[in-house]
């Protein structure tokens, strides 16, 4: 009786091992079913989801114009103090003073990618970009000014 149990235990152990080995062997011979991505090597073909929240950017068009009015809605919506809007006063052709953004300072190291600034923006001036490779050697490089130098607000945005 003891011998019978011993043999059946060994048989069950070996059969369960083989069951697992058959599974791994299947994936070894079917490499197309393996979903592992060889990340740094597949950089050229890597496609991130378009909504992926990697960093905040400010899109500029070909005339180097953006849609930011400097209303500081994003600064108020941010829970971490990531965004700081520095405003200036432009003189319009009619001679009036108009508020405009001087620098939209974005501190990536404080950002938690919560997207609250993007949905708070009334003129869709900022959006999330799917870049995720943010490693730099110096922390000060993570503080960015989102509006490009010499850029101005697009016509017709109040």
């Amino acid at each position: 009786m003891f011998l019978k149990e011993y043999i059946s235990d060994v048989y069950n152990g070996v059969s369960s091992l083989l069951k697992g080995m058959r599974k791994t062997g299947y994936y070894f011979t079917h490499p197309k079913e393996i979903i592992t991505e060889q990340y740094p090597d597949n950089r050229a073909t890597l496609v991130m989801a378009e909504r992926f929240k990697g960093e905040v950017v400010m899109p500029h068009d070909q005339n180097n114009e953006h849609a930011c009015t400097g209303c500081t809605a994003c600064e108020l919506a941010c829970p971490n103090g990531t965004i700081k809007v520095v405003t200036k006063f432009d003189i319009t052709p009619e001679g009036k003073k108009k508020k405009a953004v001087d620098a939209l300072v974005y501190r990536l190291e404080l950002c938690t990618m919560c997207n609250l600034c993007v949905i708070a923006c009334p003129s869709d001036a900022i959006k999330m970009a799917p870049n995720f490779e943010h490693s730099v050697f110096d922390r000060s490089k993570l503080t960015k000014i989102l509006n490009k130098t010499g850029s101005k607000i697009r016509e017709g945005i109040e």
């Binding site: 069950n12 152990g13 369960s16 069951k19 697992g20 599974k23 791994t24 979903i35 989801a49 909504r51 992926f52 929240k53 919506a77 829970p79 938690t112 990618m113 919560c114 997207n115 609250l116 949905i119 999330m128």
Partner: protein, 378 residues
Amino acid sequence: MYNQTEVIKDTSELGAEGELIINMGPQHPATHGVLHLVVTLNGETIKKIEPHLGYIHRSIEKMCESLTYRQFIYVTSRMDYLSSHINNLGCALLVEKGMQIEVPERAKYVRVILSELTRIASHELWLGAMAMDLGAFTPFFYAFREREMITDIMEETCGARLTMNYIVPGGLMYDIHPDFQKKVKAFITQFKAKVTEYEDLVTNNIIFQSRTKGVGVLTAEDAISFGCTGPVARASGVSCDIRKLYPYDVYDKVEFDEVIETAGDSFARYMVRVKEMNQSIRIIEQLIDTIPEGDFVGKTKNVLKLPKGEFYTRVETARGEFGIYVVSEGGTTPHRIKFRSPGFSNLSALNHMAAGSKIGDLMATMGTLDLVIPDIDR
């Protein structure tokens, strides 16, 4: 004035004759995080377990007092990071309840589908990690394969894989991705085909069964007295599913069973979670084809102000009851906020469950509690 010679902890009584004190963690590979367990052993038998907390305390409750009702939702993703979507949902429900905000049907449906997907993803990760605790390495990769499909869906629709922050008071942050329904259906097909692999690899495995059956038994009375919720309490036969008892969003419209086991041991807790995944699939199947058209976010005021008073909402996360208690003074920020996290109460039962058993069984008991340390420490 701080007394320099004050005895912070008297350890003389712990080191009694024949006893051995082992510090498990804070970085033990089997503890899933920075949890420090002071285990008092007599030979190989556990006499006492004392969890030490606070290694990743971030004072989230205090932090929330300075954030507005739109801003404080994202912080709760950082508590129970495996069911962050459900935490966000609980916070949004509280604000909606307090301010009587109307939520569109479409948003409710999507919220429930995403909650159930989060629950499956959380249980998948738990299954892989739990099997790895017990020495089986392969199920980890099989569980993560299906979980990867869910994180891809989350990435496409919510924009992040773990800390989604997709819910705002009144609905959703933006509409679902056009491919959402197609991808979820593809996931359901894949999950149903591959779930038998777990049965072969883990459930029917004789080593796994003998390591979990009869280990870490928690009776129904003890589960209630320790305040356990979620799969831990349901494995002991306590009916405590918030989705059934206090339905929120569209849980009252869907048919699903509350999974209850009566054995109360580690294997029962394992079975509850595996069966719960199938129930989640059942809920998603009922909703995915009938997502109504319409707005994804209701009309809300620009500045949210809860009326003066006290508010409490609860949701069923993958680990149990997650409660949010807010005292409002009528301003834009909460006056006081308290989170009732399921992990903390479940951890409190660990000493009772593991005392008297062997140290090798502690891994199975702790693994089936499904502890997420940021949820306990906050």
